[in-house]
Amino acid sequence: SAVISQKPSRDICQRGTSLTIQCQVDSQVTMMFWYRQQPGQSLTLIATANQGSEATYESGFVIDKFPISRPNLTFSTLTVSNMSPEDSSIYLCSVMTYQRPDTQYFGPGTRLTVL
């Protein structure tokens, strides 16, 4: 499986500000995804990050709130914009590899607290 890193690992932010989370993979991957996991809950897919084009968002998530970039096959960013306390969550990046295109592998996550 690929080695996936996320930055930052955690952050505490003020209401109304924005935070950009980075996801870096040590090899080229086919697909990259962003999930949100609220405290004690399961995972909710935010969007699929498409290389060279706009991300595909799930119902309830919009580009203005969660802009996503994927400039190449190893890197993606998720921005949480105009944050409120309700955005406090763990944000997880996941990927699918060319070697195993039927399984998602996850990064270590970013724990975001909004005050």
């Binding site: 399961s42 995972l43 295109p101 039927d102 399984t103 998602q104 996850f106 990064g107 996550g109 724990r111």
Partner: protein
């Protein structure tokens, strides 16, 4: 609609004993994959085991094995010789073969391991 149900929010097992975590799913598809992921307190989701629905043989990975009952739409995880490091949240997940972009996750089971 595809749903994944984990009916046990929390379970406990004595170290060195065996425990079984339950998962059921609802689908009209015939070709799909099933997964168990482990999320320890460090929060990184780790793939434990995967099962292709077309395979009748149950998957096994060291101390982890599954009991896959396709007709009953049941996919339980058995952990043998439980270790303290097995303590984590366990998530069952499902994905359709022709749409691996969409993973469906259960609500999770918290496993406690008692020394």
């Amino acid at each position: 609609a595809q749903t994944v149900t984990q009916s046990q929010p929390e379970m406990s097992v004595q170290e060195a004993e065996t425990v079984t975590l339950s998962c059921t799913y609802d689908t009209s598809e015939s070709d799909y994959y099933l997964f168990w992921y482990k999320q320890p307190p460090s929060r990184q989701m780790i793939l434990v085991i995967r099962q292709e629905a077309y395979k009748q043989q149950n998957a096994t990975e060291n101390r982890f094995s599954v009991n896959f009952q396709k007709a009953a739409k049941s996919f339980s995880l058995k952990i043998s010789d439980s270790q303290l490091g097995d303590a984590a949240m366990y998530f069952c997940a499902y994905a359709v073969v022709d749409n691996f972009n969409k993973f469906y996750f259960g609500s999770g089971t918290k496993l406690n391991v008692k020394p």
